[in-house]
């Protein structure tokens, strides 16, 4: 008798928990692949395509599917380290012999711009304003420095210039202060 009671009790519990878990699985279903989201958050979102994929998210998906983590020059070593932590793999050096460059933004020499809109079409983050046959200019705050606008320009009027250091962005690089004798 006790055996039957125990079996019934355990069986009921199993059914109840099964139902609860089953409901939770449907109710709290996670839609997207969270790994891709996490990888995408680590990537620098320059959308430059230097990894060979059209944007950061496609590369994130590729990493989730087993691609190398060392194809992102804008992210540099820091990004590779984070990706290695996340994916549980060995951190590799950047696959191209590229030094971690200074942050740059595009600059249009406005006198030479002919207003062809080719750079506007190339910009992945809509950081170039202008209209057909009118001068274009770069929104410095929005530019990710991806270089994609430089190639399409028919008159080569786009330069990549390093961001100027402002007192807010200055990193207490005390060694770089010009030492000057006070007299």
């Amino acid at each position: 008798m006790t055996l039957v009671t125990a079996l019934i009790a355990v069986g009921t519990l199993a059914l109840v928990f099964g139902a609860v878990l089953g409901y939770a699985a449907i109710r709290f279903k996670v839609e997207a692949d969270p790994l891709v989201e996490q990888i995408d958050d680590i990537l620098p979102q320059t959308q430059c395509g230097q990894c060979g994929y059209p944007g950061c998210r496609p590369y994130a998906e590729a990493i989730a599917n087993g691609d190398d983590i060392n194809k992102c020059p804008p992210g540099g070593e820091a990004t590779i380290r984070k990706l290695a932590d996340l994916m549980g793999v060995e951190a590799k050096p950047l696959n191209e012999a590229q030094t971690e460059s200074v942050k740059r933004v595009a600059y249009i020499r406005e006198d030479e711009c002919i207003g062809c809109t080719k750079c506007i079409q190339a910009c992945p983050v809509d950081a170039i304003v202008g209209a057909s046959k009118l001068m274009h200019t770069v929104l410095v705050d929005e530019c990710t420095g991806c270089d994609l606008c430089v190639e399409p320009c028919p008159v080569d009027c786009i330069d990549m210039v390093p961001l100027t250091v402002t007192p807010e962005r200055w990193k207490w690089d005390l060694a770089s202060i010009p030492v000057k004798m006070v007299d």
Partner: protein, 727 residues
Amino acid sequence: MGFSQHTGKDGRLSMPSLFQQIQAGKVWDFHGGIHPPTRKQQTSQKPVAVMPLPDRLYIPLRQHIGVAGQLLVKAGETVLKGQPLTLADNSMAVPVHAPTSGTVLAITPHTGAHPSALPELTLVLAPDGKEQWREREPLTLASCDNMTLLNRIQESGIAGMGGAGFPTHLKTGVNQPVDYLIINAVECEPYITADDLLMQEAATTIVKGIDILCQLLNPKAVLIGIEDDKPIAAAAMMAACSQREHYYVRTVPTKYPSGGEKQLIQLLTNKEVPNGRRPVDIGIVMQNVGTAFAIAQAVLDDHPLLSRIVTVAGDTLSQPQNVLTLIGTPVSSLLNFCGFQSEPKQRVIMGGPMMGFTLADLSVPVVKTTNCILAPTAEELPAASNEMDCIRCSSCADACPASLLPQQLLWYSKAKDSEKLAEYNLADCIECGACAYVCPSEIPLVQYYRVAKAELREQQREALKAEQAKARFEARNARLEREKQERAERNQQLAAARQQQQLASGANNAVADALARIKAKQAQASADTANTATETASAATQSSADKTAILAERERKKQQAREYQQQKAAAIAAEMKADENAATDASTDQIATPSDSAAADNSNSTADNKAAAVAAAIARARAKKAAETAPNTAAPVQTDAEASTEAKTETDNDADPRKAAVAAALARAKAKKAAETMQSTAPAETAAAALTAADSEAGNGVDPRKAAIAAAIARAKAKKQADSENS
């Protein structure tokens, strides 16, 4: 908020409330802190000196935390004392004013009052010595509402004068209820006595400023914190506040850094500001005593923030003292005024010895947040010596006023481990330098934290930017997708519309189409053959109106065909003649051209536009070629020129500018090609001969296709020749 939390939660009614404790004069303590030599006696006993006008004033357009205002003046303009130079167009902007009347010399980047010494946009003013004021509109406290007062505070360019430079109108314009207004007159850093002197000399004005702050914030009590090493200032403030019931002057023990915002709050109210929050979140607003003075001046006298008291101290000065200095005065003039005798490797520090920074250049101006200029001798304030390894003595942790773990932070700063740094609350570090002061290994701990903090800020900025870039990228992709869909939809709609139109127009159209096809066929057929048969056939199907039109059309076509035949006959005759000409040499050919082309033109005298245009073009091209092949001989060139003009007049007579233009363009293109083929000189002559021959042939034999072929053959020949000669 506030009091109830502290009143006898556990039922002990005897426990006095926080407010009662404050009223009773209780002062608390904070963790850590150090006792460096204060060295304030150098300057605290002397009156504030007023400095004569310097030669130039360098006024940085941004002297506070926030953004610079919009520039209102141009170089060369004359400005009056107190005239705003920038306009505060948003809440984060604070204007700057002309500290005296004079001329704006330039607005250029100039070394800024910042440890980086990076150039900042600065207005250079040449004082005229007249001290001419703009019009002033003093306000009375009774007649203004809070909005007017806040606007006046912002327009007067007031930003926190204790050192941080936070815009005062933002701090006093809060909507949260305020329990305590704390006036920070602690001035805990060594050497600095600027606030001390201000209180000694202008206590009543300061209290008027506090009155204005009270009207804006409506606090329950005002706590004025003064360190106990300033008895004269404390007495002056006490006397000035005697009429105000809820103003409490509190002296706090001398300890560094009791002037820190969070530390002073803890000292006076025993409250701690939660991590990542502002004092106003716990009902406290703190203002510097200098700010209160500036507010009183701005509101009651309409005297914007034009000058401030700066302590100029250090053993290299013969007269260390407090100086009432105009904003924008270069540090060098200020030092010279105080008898500066520089020594080798002299350091000049802006701010105090603990939190100040060494200036790279003495042309840096005094700004709104500059409270001290320190020019110490090497013995007085030795430069940092060799850094040694950490011995884990934990003195730094004992000294830290923010109760952080400086050792751990040092490891993580060196390892650049931003996650751990955040975990150990690096952001709460007030950069007071107490840890570096007590460190027996002389590790400049605070420098490491500054670098790490800047790095963290940069990372945050990057993260924010990455997020924005992602959002923009996604928005762009969505837009492109939408546009593509819209285009596809539009195309579909157009196609559908076209189909419907076709369906609606029905069978009549089919007949018309058939007729058109027949007509096209007829035009192709020769003029004389089988016209009557089709005529009758079509006449049967057509209406009478159509019939006449078709007849007229056919008649025209016939006429054209006849003309064409005539031309052909003439052309054949001309060609035979041209063949003879081609046999002769190049020079004679060139000279002969006018007559040739004239002959050709004569033969085509039946008003044929095309022929004339082609002839003209060829003539011009030949002229050009002739000029190129025989640049030395003047005569042929002349004749060619004649030819070309002749041809031109002919084309002009044609009265068809488009055709003429086309001909001219063709001629130019030909000339260019000819020039290209005639790169090498030796084959050039023969090539030219061949070309001219071909051209003359073409010119006479009206058929442009033939001419083109002939020219092409000639060119190919020339090229081959050139190639063979090159190899």
